[in-house]
């Protein structure tokens, strides 16, 4: 039971006709470098939009500046390519002003975590109903290879010839620290999985952040190799699914369990010894404790968690705003501007 939401995934208008990838293909030449991870993300989005099933005019993509931010030109939706760092702020206005849109932000680690860091944390804190696709390649690509806020400590780049001396941001930790209600992680080497995660993001009412680990072939090639490499990926990828045990490894012979001081990797015995202690993923848990620990798992001691780590149900900013507006409209004596102009102390001069 419960009140049907007046906005959000359930309430969005659906397309009368089934849509295909073709409906969203743009006539613009895609100008990313050959082999760039962005191509995979683009094809994943082109696949997921028709699956989501909203009217094609309901999608709106907003971006900032950077390689990732060229995204709107390559998808046939309403699109806004804004200025560096401000995609989330522009998208905030789009969301508030028009509650019948599905708003997607295409942004990168420089755009949203450096110059636009302030907007990023605040949009999450407010829980606006939008979907942020954060392309994390740990480098500034469009300006040709300077370190970013997610570059690993010690990264040698054009502006850090002796290695960086800054701790990187961990996106998931930042999102959850900013009261995030949805955080998922995917990787460019698996577009099908990106599609799956994006669909979950679309279904979530509130700010969803999907971090896509993306490879920059030119300036930071191989940064995610340990996670994506054929030999190593099974040992370093934990694919999370709600309600399922957190198992990984070639034969699912390893799992994640809770110890006093946090998570740990446990080997499952040949007869399933230890399986009972392996955690079952609950992405809807409002308490972010385990989600935060999962988001902070990194190789070499842990696999990296992929999939929807957190999808907690909290009211969106738009919903709360609309409730206030509806309440005020119902109770206020001021129904129009003429009422306002004549409110309070006024007097007639004959």
């Amino acid at each position: 039971m419960g009140i049907k939401p007046k906005m959000g995934y359930q309430a969005m208008e659906r397309s009368d006709v089934p849509l295909t990838q073709q409906d969203f293909s743009s006539d613009q030449m895609v100008k990313w470098c050959p082999g760039c991870g962005d191509h995979a993300i683009l094809s994943a989005v082109a696949k997921v939009f028709p699956e989501i099933g909203y009217k094609k005019e309901s999608f709106c993509i907003v971006s900032g500046i950077g390689c990732s931010s060229r995204f709107p030109y390559y998808v046939n939706t309403y699109g806004f390519h804004s200025i560096h760092g401000r995609a989330n702020a522009v998208a905030t206005g789009v969301c508030i002003a028009n509650k019948h849109l599905s708003v997607w932000v295409a942004t990168g680690d420089g755009d949203s975590l450096a110059i636009g860091g302030n907007h990023f944390i605040h949009v999450i804190r407010r829980n606006l109903d939008l979907n942020i696709m954060l392309f994390n390649n740990k480098i500034y690509g469009l300006t040709k290879g300077q370190y970013s806020p997610t570059s690993d400590m010690g990264s040698v780049t054009k502006t850090s010839p002796y290695g960086t001396i800054e701790q990187p941001f961990q996106v998931g930790e930042l999102v959850i620290g900013a009261q995030g209600t949805f955080f998922a992680r995917a990787i460019d080497s698996n577009p099908k999985f990106i599609t799956e995660v994006m669909f979950e993001a679309a279904k979530h009412d509130g700010t969803s952040v999907v971090e896509i680990l993306q490879n920059c072939v030119i300036f930071n090639d191989g940064t995610h190799d340990l996670i994506t490499g054929k030999e190593t990926k099974d040992d370093y990828q934990l694919i999370l699914r709600h309600g399922e045990k957190m198992l990984f490894g070639k034969n699912k012979e390893k799992g994640i369990r809770m110890r006093k001081h946090g998570l740990e990797v446990v080997e499952i015995g040949p007869n399933g010894e230890g399986l009972e202690k392996v955690l079952v993923h609950d992405m809807y848990n409002p308490n972010p404790g385990v989600h935060l620990m999962l988001a902070k798992m990194f190789p070499p001691h842990f696999p990296i968690a992929l999939g929807v780590i957190r999808s907690a149900n909290f009211p969106t900013y738009e919903l709360l705003l609309q409730q206030q507006i509806d309440d005020c409209k119902a109770t206020s004596k001021i129904k129009c501007v003429d009422d306002l102009l004549n409110s309070g102390d006024t007097w007639e001069i004959e």
Partner: protein, 613 residues
Amino acid sequence: MSKQILEKESVVVKFVGDSGDGMQLSGTLFSDAAALAGNDIATFPDYPAEIRAPHNTIAGVSGFQVHIGKETRIIGDKCDVLVAMNPASLRANLKWVDKGATIITDCDAYEEKALEKAGYTSNPLTDGSLSSYCVVAPNITTLAKETALANGLDNKGAERTKNMFCLGMIYYIFNFELDTPFKLLDKRFKGKAHIADVNKKVMQAGFNFAETMEVFASTFQISNVQLEKGRYRNITGNEATAWGLLAAAEKVGKELFLGSYPITPATEILIELAKHKSLGAQVFQAEDEIAGICSAIGASFAGAVACTTTSGPGLSLKTEAIGLAVMTELPLVIVDVQRAGPSTGMPTKSEQSDLNLALFGRNGEAPCIVLAAASPSDCFYKAYNAAKLAMENMTPVILLTDGNTGQGSELFRIPKMTDMLPINPPYATPNDPDFKPYRRDPETLVRQWAVPGMEGLRHRIGGLEKTDVDGLVSTDPQNHAKMVQLRSEKVMRLANRLPKQNVYGNVDADTLIVSWGGTKGAVYTACKEVNNTGKAVAHAHFSQIMPLPYNTAEIFAKYKKILVCELNSGQFANYLRMSLPNFKYEQYNKIQGLPFTVQELVGAINNVINNIK
């Protein structure tokens, strides 16, 4: 004592005291009562940036000036009555008091320590230094406390009623009935009937004291005002700006979106709009100035009447985003309530500081419409017009007001929404097969507004240069030259569709006085005074700054001398030199964080007239 009644066309009363003395409340109660008694009014709060600066110091002096009477276009140069609650406030304000004027002050406050903090070496009440003023200095604190304690207030609360005692005395001097302030107190202390009641009793005690003790040598009789018929109210410039924006949104049938960040002296617009959710106002307090404007740009793209409000430092932060609005050709209203700069400058002091920034403060060539409001009530019409022009021309509009105008108040003849000009944005038609994001109306060069969600109009816009008509990303040299020219031409052509510039005063004079924005009242009054002395001067006040009215050159050509008066070191004069270089412009400037006084303007105007050979 035989009582003298002074008949005056207008009177200036200034309430000054410590930041916590309730001077803003006293001033408001007095001006509201004066307005309800049928006077024209203009008010201006004058307060320090600190919320509660040290007690009894000059730094902590807070004031509220009220000008009442006939045609109060300005807040008034000098006061006829000064109410000073302590030595520091007297010392800080004595320069604004004419000889012979009335000073009401609280002799209880003139203790040694307070005198010392104010920088007095002897007590001005007794050392004869105030002999050329009519000083009335009863034991105000003692008298007020007596009444308040007798009516059940505690010691601390009782002391705070001293401003009501003064107000009672003031109402007596102006022959005002106490009914009106009593009603206002009931409203102010709604749900606290006892507090309202004690305040009334103290006010009545002050009134009675003034009457029975005959402490004033003279009282004032203000000439009847002849205001245009209609319904009136008092309004501050910032309230009027907020209401003008709401009016535009209602007229065009859209929701208002405000993205804004608190900043002195513009915050009241944000506060006011936040109250009006019943009118559908979507008010978003952003995390910073940049998010304020960027969210508004997003809202505009999504089809709202979008605006952002700020003051100088905030406008600096917004400049990159204004360029984005110029490039994407989206409607947007940017209100800048100017304050003294540069940098943090003097946040609570007014200045016509940001004209250069409004006109030129963006990378690349990014022209937008610039308007300026002339007075508190004019803010309503200018805000409405800014929204109208933004939407009809698909462009950002910067509206310049200033601290004095925004926080000052005056009478406002209440308009009817049916009388407001229609607003007709160039909406795109859903499923129009010919729609292109940068296709323009051949006359106005305005592109169409296609809002996300509309069927058959999906398109992309952004900050990168776009091809003419199709709106595709382009670095083609010829295309860029054309687009730069089109964006400029679009704004310049608007002049042909906007009203012409008017000239007031003695239009056939040799000298033209030019002003813009919030100085209209002072310059108008000064010109009138000069013309009343038998000399001749004409006055052109500009509200439409960019583009300039189409007949500006035609006007300038008629005069031998042009004197540009402004509260900066010559930003409008330089803009005129650049735009209309065939004329010679003289300047009169003031950069003290203070408004023009009529007398200094009269002096400056006479200098120019006298120098004509």
